[in-house]
């Protein structure tokens, strides 16, 4: 078996909540409490669970948006958790993140061109504006957007289009691992399907590995190779997508699956 691209061992992220101080003790929130998983090249692993289970914190810790309390995350043979911000910066190109809310994740003051050019210049992938522009046009096309959207600003786009721009900002760096944190849950049903199809197609075509974080079991089944179910900061079950959906072993996974509304089933009465 080849070495996985990302190998997370016993990851813990704890937050102290409250200010502490005089006569008050800080309490500890164990958002992620000992999580281990691995992602191979070209593989899509879904992290599924309900709100507050810590799934988003896993993604945010892996991108250094939160600080890990303990554990290791070997990315391409290197532990990324104990890198300093400066050491981690070059690796950001390889580890990219798609955010949930397409209305909050784009800076309202930057044009689409400025927004997409920024990562190119930071990572030295373009020498000048025209070179950057070429790549921006190609990437916009990849996510199904017109080249003339470049000069426009985020508020001129619908939610689905904004999420496509968010995906373009990620794909323009040709990353090796994409962490997608609820990338479709803020969108309308018909737009969700479009964006899910887009993510699946881009993943297939580029062969990028993906950590797909979601509470939406339908989307998870549609997109992932393997699924890890998270509850209360810990993984309760990991397995191939089919196995998790068809023969779930853990009681929580079973309850989760039984809760999804399905056609032709009636509640009550």
């Amino acid at each position: 078996m080849t070495r996985p691209l990302l190998d997370v061992r016993e990851l813990k992220t704890h937050f102290s909540i409250g200010r502490g101080g005089f006569m008050r003790r800080k309490s500890l929130l164990r958002a992620v409490d000992g999580v281990s998983f691995s992602i191979h090249d070209g593989e899509v692993l879904s992290l599924v669970g309900e709100s507050g289970c810590g799934k988003s914190t896993v993604g945010r810790t892996l991108t250094h948006l939160e600080t890990a309390t303990a554990g290791t995350a070997m990315f391409d043979g290197r532990d990324i958790l104990n890198l300093s911000p400066a050491e981690f910066r070059p690796l950001r190109r390889d580890i990219q993140m798609v955010f949930q809310d397409p209305f909050a994740s784009l800076n309202p003051r930057l044009s689409i061109e400025q927004m997409l050019a920024e990562p190119l210049f930071i990572h030295g992938l373009a020498r000048d504006r025209s070179e950057a522009r070429e790549r921006i046009v190609a990437t916009l096309e990849l996510v199904g957007m017109d080249a003339n959207s470049m000069s426009r600003y985020p508020h001129e786009f619908s939610g689905g289009q904004r999420q496509r721009i968010g995906i373009a900002r990620v794909m323009i760096l040709t990353p090796r691992l994409v962490i997608a944190d609820e990338p479709v849950s803020a969108l309308d049903v018909s737009i969700q399907a479009q964006v899910l199809n887009l993510i699946k197609r881009l993943q297939r075509d580029s062969g990028v590995s993906m950590l797909f974080i979601s509470h939406d079991l339908g989307a998870v089944r549609h997109i992932s190779d393997r699924v890890a179910v998270m509850y209360g900061g810990k993984l309760v079950e990991t397995g191939k997508t089919r196995q998790i959906f068809e023969t779930p072993r853990h009681a929580y996974t079973q309850r989760l699956l039984a809760s999804i509304p399905r056609f032709g089933k009636r509640i009550g009465r």
Binding site: P90, D101, R109, H155
Partner: protein, 283 residues
């Protein structure tokens, strides 16, 4: 947010704010064209027409040195603009930087914001008085002192807004793109502070006038020979029964201008958040 910021929608359907803006335009023209507009030299004494009541040729009357009040009022507009823009500039640059850096770098913030808190514990006028007594009376010092007073409130406001912006997802996204501190601060956070700071600026502009007038009145502001509305009030206050117009005219000018600035500030503020503009409940 409206990008780029344009002027027309700010005043659409706001008659009062429009009138206010027109008045401020008049003050601006008076400031720029004072030498051409003023019928007399504002500094020239004329002992023969001391304390003359309003009429031709002294429309606003004359003061106890026989100087023409209208000309002094017109030159006073220069001080309005100078003190307003000067203190706004100092308050926004100093206060803005302190607030932004304090919110972004938490440890630095603990230090800087405590200093700001201490300064804010003084009433604004008292703080200005204390600082003015340490310095000599001059236009520059007045501007600096008023700027410092309002830098504290600006720092507080910018601190709060930056804390909120810092947690916005697009800042996370920029960090994930590899953006460094300078880029996050000045490229992603600062542009989102511009419109709220513009509103803040308009209020500082207004309050600075009151502050300056108060300092002048207490004899600690601009040097007495400088024609300003506050000095006019201050110097002529003993003649309030004999020549009330000497106080009525500059007083009215101050009130009218500050009121206009506040109206324009309100209009700006209401215009800045597009969420209120396009709010259609439930759609």
């Amino acid at each position: 947010m409206s990008v780029p910021l344009s002027i027309a929608p700010v005043f659409r359907g706001r008659a009062l704010a429009t009138i206010g803006a027109c008045w401020l335009l008049v003050v601006g023209i008076a400031a720029v064209g004072a030498p051409l507009l003023a019928p007399f030299d504002p500094l020239e004494f004329d002992p023969f027409v001391r304390l003359s009541s309003p009429g031709w040729p002294h429309l606003f009357g004359t003061d106890h040195f026989g100087r023409d009040s209208l000309s002094r009022a017109i030159y006073g507009a220069r001080m309005v603009i100078l003190i307003g823009s000067g203190s706004v500039l100092i308050a926004l640059v100093a206060g803005g930087l302190i607030g932004m850096l304090s919110a972004y770098f938490v440890r630095l913030g603990h230090l800087l914001m405590r200093i700001v808190d201490v300064l804010m514990a003084f009433p604004a006028l008292l703080l200005a008085l204390v600082l003015m007594t340490l310095l000599e009376r001059s236009v520059l010092n007045t501007v600096i002192v008023i700027g410092i007073v309002y830098a504290t409130t600006t720092a507080r406001i910018v601190f709060g807004m930056t804390l909120k912006l810092k947690r916005d997802v697009f800042v996370d996204a920029a960090i994930c793109s590899g953006a460094g501190h300078a880029s996050v601060l000045f490229r992603h956070i600062l542009p989102n502070l511009v419109s709220p700071m513009l509103v803040q600026a308009s209020f500082i502009f207004a309050f600075a006038q009151l502050q300056a007038a108060a300092l002048d009145f207490l004899g600690l502001g601009l040097p007495p020979e400088v024609p300003s509305w506050g000095n006019m009030l201050s110097e002529e206050r003993i003649y309030v029964t004999r020549a009330p117009w000497l106080l009525i005219f500059p007083g009215a000018l101050i009130i009218l201008s500050v009121f206009s600035m506040n109206l324009v500030g309100d209009a700006l503020r209401d215009n800045i958040d597009p969420r209120f503009k396009d709010d259609i409940a439930g759609v």
